[in-house]
């Protein structure tokens, strides 16, 4: 039973026409994790299947502990969206509902590497000398 509707699939496929560089989506899951781990795996698989520019890897939080630590992932489900490099974009919990749009936006963003921000913002961010960790708490509806 697919999660995405035909309409979703059509919209995402159109959005994915913007993809340039390869995208890797890593899902951290756990067999005994919540039901949403499985759903997250299915959802991400349906998304990456819509383009040949994206690939997917499923890792286990416990068995692949070193990779989880390297990605800064300590709970599941977690989704890491990388382009030619890791830009630091993570999703915790299933990226459905409103967050689905952000997932698709993230895939396009890391592929093109072109953020749409003002010159002022870019200049200020380029001058950052220390790490900035932004957490955005959201709900699917």
């Amino acid at each position: 039973m697919p999660i995405l509707t035909d309409r979703d699939r059509e919209a995402v496929t159109k959005e994915f026409e913007k993809l340039t560089d390869p995208v890797k989506v890593t899902v951290f899951s756990q067999e005994l994790g919540s039901e949403t781990c499985q759903q997250t795996e299915w959802l991400v698989k349906e998304v990456v299947d819509l383009t040949d520019k994206a690939s997917m890897e499923v890792l286990n939080l416990i068995l692949d502990r070193e990779k989880a630590e390297a990605y800064g992932v300590d709970r599941v489900p977690a989704v890491v969206v990388e382009g030619t490099k890791d830009y630091g974009i993570r999703f915790f919990g299933i990226p459905a509902g409103y967050e689905f749009t952000n997932l698709i936006d993230a895939v396009v963003l890391v592929s093109t590497g072109k953020p749409s921000l003002s010159e002022e913002t870019r200049a200020a961010l380029a001058a950052l000398a220390s790490p900035v960790h932004i957490k955005v708490f959201a709900t699917p509806t």
Binding site: G88, I89, G113, K114, S118, A126, A129, V132, I134, V136
Partner: protein, 71 residues
């Protein structure tokens, strides 16, 4: 989340986590999430609701320049 993601791509210093609040009640409680979206930057600066880019940037700069109060 949109702005946070774009900032993460613009700077190697920025990491952007999107957290499904209902799925992680303890995490949400830790940051006193009462309304969404709630943004927490470096555990120092926090705000609820969507901000325009300029204000979001101000919050980021406040967080790195030692402003705000620990979350």
């Amino acid at each position: 989340m949109r702005l946070a993601q774009h900032m993460a791509v613009a700077s190697d210093q920025v990491r952007a986590d999107c957290i499904e609040a209902n799925e992680f009640p303890e995490w949400s409680q830790q940051y006193r999430v009462m309304a969404v979206p709630k943004v927490v930057i470096n555990d120092r600066v926090q705000f609820e609701g969507a901000l325009p880019e300029r204000d979001f940037l101000s919050a980021v700069l406040r967080a790195v320049n030692g402003g705000g109060t620990p979350a």
